[in-house]
């Protein structure tokens, strides 16, 4: 396997009336080709911001992004357009991420037109659209429908079709199934897995749903308020977690089985503000093991076991 994407010390701060909001704060990781990296964490921890920085929808405040060993952090113009072809994004909300005035056909065709694929040859473009629709399981007869005429599952299939239109190598999937019912969610997850195998796609899969992230990922990053607090292979994370936040998070997942009840760790305290954060560990206010050191020094992400990284002063 070879490395496809690498992120080094990535930061994204937002200027807000109340101060500087540290949405993504010094995040580093790399992804191999064909791999799925799951990014999991609770609302507001910076998952979408991270994904948007990587596909150039947001400009990072600091840090570097490498794609196939090329520094793409500050590319512009033609080079950026070129890179957009190989990196795509699928959005969380299939209801608002599709233009309501465009038909299924024009939504899927739009990226082809922008990138001059099958230029001027409308028959070829339409054929390509139909092929992609078939790949993602959308019936031909829907080609002239509008998104609002379709249910959530089909709308998300359009989002996936649009992302596939340029045959990308890498896709950031931002909560692609969170708005869907479980029976439809399962259909989409199977589809994404099949596409990955057929096309050797590489995914960053963002979600707050731990059973989904375990199902789809090879490796998982756990984020908390802009930081990665734990990173390791998917099965390993569920077997043994090191970070107190990850432990609480996993113990809190409701499992649809009788007698699956584990010792629940109920956290106390409220989430720290991401605006001008104090020095020290971001989780200290809710942590069961806070020591004086935790309030002063922010812990680095370090390898505590083979391939298992944790940012916590306990280790």
């Amino acid at each position: 396997m070879s490395e496809l994407l690498r992120v080094e010390h990535l930061k994204k701060y937002f200027d807000t009336p109340r101060g500087l909001l540290h949405a993504v704060d010094d995040v580093s990781f790399s992804i191999e080709r064909g791999e799925t990296l799951g990014v999991v964490g609770e609302s507001g921890c910076g998952k979408s911001t991270l994904g948007r920085c990587i596909v150039h929808l947001l400009e990072p405040t600091g840090g570097k992004i490498f794609f196939k060993d090329e520094d793409i952090t500050n590319i512009r113009g033609e080079r950026l357009k070129e890179s957009r072809k190989s990196m795509q994004m699928i959005f969380q909300d299939p209801f608002s991420s599709l233009n309501p005035r465009m038909t299924v056909k024009s939504i899927i065709m739009e990226p082809m037109i922008i990138h001059k694929l099958h230029q001027g040859n409308e028959a070829a473009q339409e054929k390509a659209v139909l092929e992609i629709m078939e790949t993602v399981g959308l019936a031909k007869r829907l080609i002239d429908s509008y998104p609002h005429e379709l249910d959530g599952g089909r709308r998300q299939r359009i989002g996936i079709a649009r992302a596939l239109a340029l045959e990308p190598e890498f896709i950031v999937c931002d909560e692609p199934v969170s708005a869907l019912d479980v029976s439809i969610q399962a259909q989409i997850l199977n589809l994404m897995r099949d596409l990955q195998e057929e096309r050797n796609l590489t995914y960053i899969f963002i979600t707050h749903d731990l059973s989904v992230v375990k199902h789809i990922s090879d490796r998982i990053c756990v984020m908390y308020l802009g930081n990665i607090v734990e990173q390791c292979p998917a099965d390993k994370l569920f077997a043994s977690q090191f970070h107190p936040y990850t432990q609480a998070l996993l113990s809190a997942i409701p499992i649809a089985k009788i007698n699956a009840k584990r010792e629940r760790i109920i956290l106390k305290g409220e989430i720290t503000s991401p605006i001008d954060p104090e020095p020290g560990c971001r989780f200290a206010a809710r942590c069961l093991y806070t020591k004086p050191e935790c309030l002063e020094v922010q812990p680095d992400l370090k390898e505590v076991e083979d391939g298992h990284l944790v940012a916590c002063h306990l280790y």
Partner: protein
């Protein structure tokens, strides 16, 4: 058995431009005193409509209750005057609504909102109500000295706890909780579920918990009703629903959830979609998606039958041997 709520043959429809939406169809359901019933189903199954029916809050138009009875402690709520219904709704049955963030008033302090709700149901002075509201805040784990803060100063989980405090403030006998934790993060959800079960136990309140999450149901429910296209397709105890699953739809729901304890490479989704409630199939409403469908299923809507001690299923094929397994 002491049933606080008994719903018999309830049907509710909405008249829309696209036609008549049959949201709830001949629904039967009981809630025993002190019991928590999980009402589970996917989007559009009719869960909220059922709860609004019990509350007497179906928007009319377009909604109409076209038949059935809703008995509360033996009295049919559908036959009561508006005034008496309002009294029951305030004091005896209270509802936690699906979109919590919109049910708080942004310009009134959280404490005053709880106090106001107390004063609607109890003759107390302002000062007395404020004191009681402070107690309620502490009961849901929020320091009493935050009484004077506004909703926007609270996190999502704290706002949800305020809403629970308001629902509990009149000591209801029945709580209808419509997806009370769906919008919350799991660690906060765990806090809120913990709180709900503790309060329920203390006061022996009965509850209908509406959710689409079978994981949440296991945490706090005694009984489970699985709803599909406006009907109950399976009903039983936790053990019956989870370990002796009988209806193909319920089985499909379990097969769709990624198993966190095992590595499965493929999920087993239910093919297709829920039927359009303005155009329901003639026979069984699950038939178009069902692997076991037969001619009878297309022609005749199966009745809900008891297959074991309090375990009900609505399926023609139950007990018939199929390829490999029993339905």
């Amino acid at each position: 058995m002491d049933n606080v709520i008994e719903i018999k043959d309830l049907s509710i429809q909405y008249a829309t431009d696209e036609g008549i939406v049959k949201a709830v169809n001949h629904l039967n359901l009981q809630l025993a005193r002190g019991e928590t019933l999980g009402l589970v189903g996917e989007t559009g199954a009719g869960k909220t409509t059922t709860a609004l029916g019990i509350m007497g809050l179906i928007p009319d138009p377009p909604g109409v209750i076209t038949g059935g009875e809703i008995l509360f402690e033996g009295t049919d709520l559908l036959k009561l005057s508006k005034q008496r219904l309002r009294a029951i709704r305030g004091n005896k049955i209270s509802m936690i609504f699906q979109d919590p963030m919109t049910s708080l008033n942004p310009v009134v302090t959280v404490g005053d909102q709880i106090a106001e709700s107390i004063r609607i149901h109890e003759k107390l002075s302002r000062a007395e109500a404020a004191l009681k509201a402070k107690d309620m805040l502490e009961l849901v784990g929020i320091p009493g000295d935050r009484y004077g803060e506004y909703p926007h100063q609270f996190s999502g989980g704290m706002k949800q706890r305020v809403i629970i405090a308001i629902a509990l403030s009149c000591n209801p006998e029945v709580i209808l909780a419509d997806e009370p934790t769906t919008a919350l993060d799991v660690t906060i959800q765990a806090q809120v579920l913990d709180l709900i079960s503790k309060l329920k136990k203390e006061k022996n309140t009965s509850m209908i918990l509406i959710t689409h999450d079978l994981g949440v149901v296991v945490e706090i429910c005694d009984k489970v009703a699985i709803m599909y296209a406006g009907e109950i397709v399976e009903y039983g105890s936790l053990e019956q629903i989870y370990d002796q699953t009988a209806h193909p739809y319920t089985k499909g729901l379990f097969g769709s959830i990624p198993d966190i304890e095992a590595k499965t490479s493929r999920l087993k989704p239910i093919p297709g979609l829920m039927p359009d409630p303005s155009n329901l199939p003639e026979g069984c409403s699950f038939e178009p998606r069902c692997e076991r469908s037969c001619q009878l299923c297309k022609e005749e809507n199966p009745p809900l039958i008891e297959i074991g001690n309090g375990h009900f299923v609505k399926c023609h094929n139950y007990g018939k041997v199929g390829e490999g397994e029993d339905v």
